[in-house]
């Protein structure tokens, strides 16, 4: 009998195959395109629409962009990850996969990995839009000819048009070549946004040409660390979603995905409780405070060097716990 290879490499291939299919499925959902398009557009339009700066150039734009990234990412993970996995379990897609010589753990782990990749692409796109929005936001500029607050209109226009242009290009490729529109949109956006940021470095904030010798992107790179922290929170969120999807129907799984996230807001309160039993509950929740690093950027501050590793550790612990629970739940489930 001809053998089918197994072992560590075989298992890794099974997880990666599931992850790839799940990521494609997540990005291809109409909801994913809608969320990606609206969050990227919202972040780009903020500096053009907001009239307040709250005493610090670009702070409101930055905070709003990160908040949109967090909420949009959570919605993306719930609607496009947990729900399809629950649907696959209910509809027979999972049965087809698990009739293969793959352990049941492959399904939640592969699905989680796929969702994490989809979330990474989303966060990458929104983070670049946030960087461009930060540059667009009204800031005090002093040159030989001018001193005062100005918005970078050119950067604002480019970043506002980018999502629509990316979707248009994705649609064109879909019509001409049959490329998947959702994946194409995110990939085009992910490529064009940094390219636009790099090209805009040849222009001054007031729109004047700097010249090839004076390239300055003028981006506030401090936003990268909070964006990474949000992605880590989304990783934990996806793990929770995958765990719930092993037992709940699609709509319930998508809704339940938000439960640990909402409880995470109370983790700090639980941690400071007088009762030991209540305090013990706190580490079991993904405390949102550990992942929300936007506050550290206020007044020119930066994220401490320990914040990201701690957030990564927290996300890894939560994800591992949620996936272990999900795998155990799936092992006992009839498909």
């Amino acid at each position: 009998m001809k053998g089918v290879p197994r072992g560590g490499a075989g298992l890794a291939r099974a997880v990666l195959a599931t992850a790839r299919a799940s990521a494609l499925e997540a990005l291809q959902q109409p909801a994913a395109i809608l969320i990606g398009l609206s969050v990227c557009s919202l972040v780009a339009l903020q500096p053009l629409l907001q009239l307040h700066s709250f005493g610090e150039s670009g702070r409101l734009v930055r905070d709003c962009a990160l908040a949109a990234m967090l909420l949009g990412g959570a919605a993306l993970c719930a609607l496009c990850s947990a729900a399809p996995m629950a649907a696959a379990l209910a509809g027979g897609g999972a049965a087809t996969a698990l009739a293969r010589p793959a352990p049941r753990a492959v399904l939640p782990v592969g699905h989680w990995l796929g969702s994490v990749c989809a979330a990474a692409l989303f966060v990458w796109c929104v983070a670049w839009q946030s960087l461009l929005a930060g540059r667009t936001a009204e800031a005090y500029v002093q040159t030989a000819h001018f001193a005062g607050d100005i918005r970078d209109a050119l950067c604002g226009a480019v970043s506002a048009l980018l999502p629509a242009f990316s979707l248009g290009l994705a649609a064109w490729r879909n019509i001409r070549r049959g490329t998947r529109i959702g994946t194409a949109f995110f990939v085009i956006m992910a490529v064009l946004a940094p390219l636009a940021a790099a090209l805009l470095g040849f222009w001054e904030r007031d729109g004047s040409w700097l010249g090839f010798a004076f390239w300055d992107p003028g981006l506030d790179w401090r936003i990268v660390a909070p964006s990474l922290a949000i992605w880590l929170l989304l990783c934990a969120f996806c793990a929770g979603g995958a765990a719930f999807a092993t037992r709940l129907p699609a709509a319930a799984a998508a809704s339940a995905s938000f439960l640990p996230f909402v409880l995470g807001f109370f983790a700090d309160g639980l941690a400071s409780s007088e009762h030991l039993a209540v305090r013990a509950l706190a580490p079991l929740l993904p405390s949102v405070r550990d992942f929300w690093l936007a506050e550290a950027l206020a007044n020119g501050g930066s994220v401490s060097s320990s914040a990201l590793p701690l957030a990564a550790l927290h996300a890894a612990a939560w994800s591992a716990m949620a996936l272990a629970v999900g795998t155990l739940a799936l092992r006992r489930r009839d498909l």
Binding site: R6, L24, G91, A95, D334
Partner: protein, 302 residues
């Protein structure tokens, strides 16, 4: 080599949210599929065919009995290494193309990605999928195309046991013929095939053995020729007999046939007739109004 599929006294009761028994789907089924055999699993809707198939594949946990795939329990991934499965409604990733679907299944089987394209193309050609559909998302494929892609996925990795649940569902007559040819080819290659179908003629054409399930029990099982043979009657077949001699022949039972070859055999009913007879008998015995048997007690059916 170990027998590809062996099931003994399998039982399964579906329960409600509170754990109360609702439907006794399978009530003690024994089944074996050997290399080169095509075993047809027949039965009305709800008779327990899909439940049996899922238990065999380790997707459902039986409440009792024993299943072995190549001598191993199906819950072990190693037992499913040489099994190909085509479900009745393959709810596959609809954004993947048939080629990508095969790559996905190859990944699940741990097959290396080298040569994946050639392997996928060969299989998709074998199941008769048009080349233009190879790179079309399944969501844009017709039901028949998606069925062929699912069949190709089931044949990935050269499985020794192929489990097919309604393999020709959604296929046109040509497609059905091709799939029947493919099943016969698998049998000739020494593969064991377990086939579940509502199309009796299809089963009659390809199966070497059938098991007819009603209300979670195998009511009849055996070789097709044996099952369809009617022992309560004898048929005489006379070749080349002129019509005017027919009455004489009948009267003299072949002696008056004028020395022509007289073949005597047992007249066969069609599989459909036999199936309905088994079903009617089961219903007369009681407890099998539909395909499924209701649980008599236990507070389940509310």
């Amino acid at each position: 080599m170990k027998i590809p599929l062996f099931a003994e006294n399998l039982r399964k009761t579906y329960r409600d949210f509170w754990g109360r028994p609702r439907t006794e789907a399978v009530r003690g089924i024994s089944l074996a599929v050997r290399p080169g055999e095509v075993v047809g699993l027949l039965g009305p809707n709800g008779s327990g065919k899909s439940t049996t198939i899922k238990m065999v594949l380790g997707l459902l946990r039986p409440d009792g009995g024993k299943v072995e795939l190549f001598g191993l329990p199906p819950s072990e991934p190693a037992a499913r290494r040489h099994v190909g499965y085509l479900p009745e409604l393959p709810d596959q990733h609809r954004f993947l193309t048939p080629r990508e679907t095969l790559a996905y299944h190859a990944g699940l089987m741990g097959l290396p990605s080298s040569g994946a394209d050639a392997r996928a193309e060969a299989l998709l050609d074998r199941v008769g999928l048009a080349r233009a559909a190879f790179d079309k998302p399944l969501s844009e494929c017709s039901k028949g195309m998606a069925r062929r892609a699912g069949l190709a996925a089931a044949l990935l990795g050269d499985p020794q046991l192929v489990v097919l649940d309604e393999p020709t569902s959604g296929l046109d007559p040509v497609g059905r013929h091709e799939v029947k040819e493919l099943i016969c080819e698998l049998s000739r290659d020494g593969k064991a095939v377990l086939l579940s179908s509502h199309l009796l003629s299809e089963v009659q054409d390809v199966c070497t053995r059938v098991a007819i399930m009603v209300a979670g029990l195998v009511r009849a099982e055996g070789n097709l020729s044996g099952l369809l043979e009617r022992r309560d009657a004898v048929r005489f077949t006379v070749s080349g007999l002129p019509p005017e001699k027919e009455a004489d022949c009948r009267a003299a039972l072949g002696v008056a046939s004028g020395g022509l070859d007289v073949a005597v055999d047992h007249p066969a009913a069609t599989l459909e007739e036999y199936f309905l007879e088994v079903l009617r008998a089961a219903r007369e015995e009681g407890g099998a109004e539909g395909g499924a048997a209701a649980v008599a007690d236990g507070g389940g059916a509310r």
